[in-house]
């Protein structure tokens, strides 16, 4: 019996994931000894862990390295996206404790589960093997199924968890079938080797590879909730606990886009013409469906769910462009989207109270006068979501649409701008309710804990600063793209 030669293990490639996993496991142990009222401390500990992980990321910038026989890579692209995931996780954790205590489901396991989901996202962003991408996706998804159904007493949360589970497992089937056919056509699952194999004429004309690419695109489209695969996503966003919705609206989308970008740009550049046309259709459908249905929503959580579908459509515009400007626009937009979306959800949590989530637009009547600071914060986030200067949302959209124009997709950019203009209506409608309607409530239950203040300040900074001086983040994004 011969011994197996274990290969040299390069720990620094997966250092961020390792640190975060260890923190999550430590939290699982500490959770046993923490009393029910003090579970908030677990949140602060997890944020400390996230800060340590962020620091370990900054060390690796600019020096790409790969490890584990080409399964993972730590390049600028991965580091940028991991930064987005960690920031969104930290902001979501900050707003979790108050909400869960209010709803009575303050179990401590929510923090380790959110950290495990973040680990899954980080593996998706840095995976260069279809297996690593798939496993990262599954770690993320399994944690999110549980988190969506976390509020066991609420029927809506149960329903959201079950719907998310069925939809997620179904889409995993498609993604896997695509990976299987890609493996069959090229003989390998490593992204770089797929590209090498696909260059040769015999393989690129192989219909199996085309079928595999189409099925993988379908699977990824399910995961990022592009139309027409967005069926149950708004229900999931509406039913899940609001801080979890905030987490879900940013992280998994960004992770799905990161993995999708890597697969398309690195593995299948030979099919660029084909997938550009496919993504063109997806982008137009997604933007239009997202914006039009958002116009009819009276429930603000549902409205933000449809708006996040529309934002995925804008990002698909950047995908379709496929050039340097478009891709760096995607990275910039994802970062600013994280700040503005989680900020908006933070305000939504504050407006609600136990037993009555106050999610309808009419419940916001007069809110701007009772709590002026929060009203201004919400306005900042709404402006950014609508793409009005000088917020970061405008800069991001500008770059995405410029990329499309540069690549020759003029009509796509026009449709994008029209959609963006239409979206102003439903974002500003919230402002109208906040400032121009008579208040029917006192809003005296709004309690600004320090965690919320920190989260809102970070969100506002993240929205305003890149909007006014986008240079630094844009430079980082340009250094981080894969071409």
């Amino acid at each position: 019996m011969e011994t197996i030669a274990i290969p040299a293990i390069n720990m620094s490639v997966i250092a961020p994931e390792m640190i975060l996993s260890v923190v999550a496991m430590a939290l699982l142990l500490i959770n046993v000894f923490v009393k029910n009222e003090q579970k908030g401390y677990l949140g602060y500990l997890s944020i400390a862990g996230i800060l340590v992980t962020l620091y370990s990321l900054t060390i690796g910038w600019g020096a790409p390295q790969d490890g584990f026989s080409g399964s993972v890579v730590q390049d600028n692209f991965a580091i940028f996206f991991k930064g987005i995931f960690l920031v969104s996780a930290a902001m979501s954790i900050l707003i979790t404790d108050q909400y869960l205590q209010r709803e009575g489901c303050n179990q401590g396991e929510v923090y380790p589960l959110m950290l495990f989901a973040t680990v899954g996202m980080m593996l998706m962003a840095s995976g260069t093997d279809l297996m690593t991408i798939f496993l990262g996706l599954e770690v993320l998804s399994v944690s999110l199924y549980v988190l969506a159904g976390f509020n066991r007493g609420s029927i809506r949360s149960n329903e959201a968890g079950l719907k998310y589970f069925l939809l997620g497992a179904f889409s995993t089937g498609f993604l896997l079938y695509g990976m299987a056919l890609t493996y069959g056509a090229t003989g390998t699952t490593k992204v770089v080797k797929i590209a090498a194999a696909a260059q040769s004429g015999m393989v690129s004309s192989n219909l199996m590879l085309v079928a595999g690419m189409l099925l993988m695109a379908t699977g990824f489209a399910f995961k990022v909730a592009a139309a027409p695969f967005h069926m149950w996503t708004p229900d999931v966003y509406e039913g899940a606990p609001t801080p979890i919705t905030a987490f879900m609206s940013v992280g998994p989308k960004a992770a799905g886009f990161a993995a999708f970008l890597r697969v398309l740009l690195v593995a299948l550049p030979v099919f660029k013409a084909e997938w550009s046309s496919l993504l063109w259709v997806l982008a137009v459908l997604t933007m239009t469906v997202g914006n039009i249905t958002a116009l009819y929503q009276q429930n603000i959580k549902r409205m933000l769910a449809y708006s996040s579908i529309a934002h995925a459509g804008y990002i698909l515009v950047g995908f379709t462009a496929g050039n340097a400007v478009g891709t760096s626009g995607i990275l910039f937009y994802m970062l600013s989207y994280a700040f503005m979306n989680i900020g908006a959800f933070a305000v939504i949590i504050l407006v609600g109270k136990k037993g009555e989530e106050n999610n309808n637009l009419a419940d916001y009547a007069g809110f701007g006068y009772k709590h002026p600071a929060l009203g201004v914060a919400m306005c900042v986030f709404l402006f950014s979501l609508a793409g009005i200067p000088p917020a970061a949302g405008f800069v991001g959209k500008f770059y995405l649409f410029s990329g499309a124009i540069q690549a020759g997709y003029i009509w796509l950019a026009i449709i994008g701008v029209l959609n963006s203009a239409a979206s102003v209506y439903y974002y500003l409608r919230v402002m109208i309710y906040m400032y121009f309607k008579e208040p029917t409530e006192d809003f005296n239950w709004v309690r600004l804990s320090p965690a919320f203040i920190i989260c809102l300040i970070i969100a506002i900074a993240g929205v305003m600063i890149p909007g006014v001086v986008p240079g630094t983040i844009l430079e980082l994004a340009q250094k981080a793209i894969l071409m």
């Binding site: 496993l135 549980v146 809506r156 995993t172 896997l176 493996y183």
Partner: protein
């Protein structure tokens, strides 16, 4: 000697039957069983391709797909139990609290 195409067509048939099952059944557990069938069809594709390509990557992938299926089964059935405690049914037509 059975050709590769026979295996691929068989797995395509199983995958499609699974998809039809997911879209047409009402009982959440039966939907989950059809999803498992889809994953098994993919497993068959992987192993058939692995044999005819002469490398083991496909079989290792199947190893991980089985692990994932087990993890998803645990979580999915726990979600169904939690749903059932509140609603006394796992009919997906009852997943109707949130509509347009």
């Amino acid at each position: 000697m059975v050709s590769l195409h026979s295996y691929l067509i068989l797995s395509a048939i199983l995958f499609s039957i699974g998809t039809i099952g997911v879209l047409t059944r009402r009982n959440a557990i039966v939907i989950f069983m059809c999803i498992e069938m889809m994953l098994n069809a993919v497993n068959l594709t992987f192993i058939a391709l692995s044999k005819y390509l002469g490398n083991l990557d496909g079989q290792i992938f199947v190893f991980f797909v089985m692990t994932v299926a087990a993890a998803e089964a645990a979580v999915g059935l726990a979600l169904m139990i939690a749903f059932f405690k509140n609603r006394e049914s796992i009919d997906v037509e009852d997943l109707n609290l949130m509509k347009w």
